[in-house]
Symmetry: C2
Subunit: 341 residues, 2 copies
């Protein structure tokens, strides 16, 4: 075993756009091998990347505490247990959790977000992509907050993303008419042809607000928004009476140095009796199995498409995060550090 634990730690908080200069590569000592009862030593195999990570870098209390300066960047991932003081998680077990941007971490089942064993035979990439947090976010956000009914028109922004693409497809499976918003012909084509959306708006070359109006002449019943800003405003403009807006994120704004103004048309929330509601997947942890069972069924039936963008190597961790904000990723952004032993 090495006695070095390579890490990317948070060096500075981004004032605007996150950059590689916000992180520093350090060589820390291996975590203390004297594990407490219940603890496990985990070798990181694969990391997942999500726009929400930008929020964790801000020095502001939120649903998780800010990542401290000098600490490894918080990140979801898959690891393998290489030392265990926990009979339920023996050496060799693959686990999912928040290993962070480091090669080794100590997992504590008594922690707030403990490492969880992967079901036997689940490949690490699938555990982070179609069976990962983004799919659970899609499932609970759409169904619990959006409450789509058969025949509803559902609008999804960030539709080619890991969350958005699953939202759009679950909405189709629930017999809704689904319009996606994504950037570029390749992503739009994948959504139309593979994910079978009813229509897709390419925000890079179309006027979003005008196109929503053309494609949804009777209005939008459910708007699942990952983007915020002008996209949110465009969606509000076309909501039906009693429409539901699911606020999942606002990737257009995460890198703003100063907060951007909100939508100018919030008065429609009154006149059209619209509910706009945010949510966090962590609140649904006790219902994870329900979502995994449903997603497994759709995957096995070939009814749920997904894509993964797998980068490689410790050196490329920070640049891989930036891909999300550049929109250069195609599908769930992952990075592989090591193979299971």
């Amino acid at each position: 075993m090495h006695n070095i634990n390579r890490q990317w730690v948070l060096k500075t908080r981004p004032a605007g756009a996150v950059s590689t200069a916000n992180f520093e590569r350090v060589e820390a000592p291996m975590p203390d091998p004297d594990l407490s009862a219940g603890q496990v030593l985990v070798k990181t195999l694969m990391l997942g990347f999500d726009p929400a990570m930008r929020g964790w870098m801000a020095d502001e209390p939120s649903y998780l505490p800010p990542v401290a300066i000098g600490e490894p960047m918080r990140a979801s991932g898959i690891g393998q247990i290489i030392k265990s003081q926990n009979a339920d998680l023996p050496e060799g077990t693959l686990v999912q959790g928040l290993p962070g941007w480091q090669e080794y971490s100590i997992g504590d089942p008594a922690g707030a977000i403990p490492p969880v064993a992967l079901p036997e035979g689940t490949p690490p990439n699938l555990a982070l992509s179609v069976f990962g947090a983004t799919s659970l976010t899609a499932y609970f956000g759409l169904l619990d907050i959006g409450q789509p009914k058969a025949g509803d028109t559902v609008l999804v922004s960030g539709a080619a993303g890991a969350t958005g693409s699953v939202v759009a497809q679950i909405a189709k499976l629930k017999d809704c008419r689904v319009i996606g918003i994504a950037g570029g012909a390749e992503k739009c084509g994948w959504l139309e042809n593979t994910c079978r959306l009813d229509a897709v708006i390419d925000y890079k070359r179309e006027n979003i607000q005008q196109r929503i109006g053309e494609l949804c002449p009777e209005g939008v019943n459910v708007f699942f928004d990952n983007v915020g800003g002008a996209t949110l405003e465009a969606g509000i403009e076309h909501m039906t009476d009693f429409g539901r807006i699911v606020l999942c994120g606002a990737i257009s704004q995460y890198n703003d140095a100063e907060p951007s103004p909100g939508p100018r048309n919030l008065m429609y929330l009154v006149s059209r009796r619209i509910r706009m509601q945010g949510f966090i997947m962590l609140d649904y942890l006790d219902r994870t199995q329900e979502a995994i069972d449903a997603i497994t069924g759709w995957v096995m039936a070939g009814e749920l498409a997904w894509r993964e963008d797998i980068q490689n190597g410790f050196d490329h961790i920070p640049t891989t995060l930036l891909r999300l904000f550049e929109g250069t990723n195609s599908g769930k952004q992952l990075l592989k550090l090591a193979d299971p032993q």
Copy 2:
């Protein structure tokens, strides 16, 4: 009977602030005395004024159609039936409805918002103030949309208004801690001393956002917002996890020539899982009796205070509307045209 029906009709749509120049005084002929079966001829006795009337003047589809140019301005009011083809509404009956800014109107019980007989003995002013639409708005908006629990902190903007003051007092009756926002020492004093709010912020001399933080160190569970704009943003800043924002109106913005930017901190709706929801009292018409019964109980027990600002005379109708936007009214804005016969 006269054969002239004086009216104030909508002459032009306001581009920004509503002004008296948007209305024209006309002398129309009396409504056709040949009533159809079911119809009644109503003499207007008293008019009610509400900020929502500004929205009805805009040429934009909403929960009610825009008032047409050349038509009497839409307004709630109390009238007396002076001719009837309706056995349920005999001559002499006092009715509540939407008579508009005119001395006489035809009421049609088959219409969307039909005239409704006042309970025997209800004074017209009370029917429009504490038993009026603003109180029903307060009742359903707070209880159904806001869902306050005993011990919650409830923030109310426009707290000295006809709706806000009833919201604040119902919240107190539901064992909540209630903070109001109002303009000027007189209104703030009335809210503290007569309505028994826990604290009141005077937006004319205090920093709203800072004061909410000081007065609500554990955050705001329910925010009933009548004001919008910077007030809405200040409230969002201090919402608790799972807080509810009841959007009732946005009087700060009704007179904007161009739509104002929305709150810059909508991302808190995600991280704090906040629900922000608009509503319209008209959706609750089938539950009117429930609200009236509750309000009657509180009024009879001396637990609900209210104020009326009664102007007089046909000539002063347009200037009376402006009082709402100037904030010069104290309590429910009314105007008396005639006494019942």
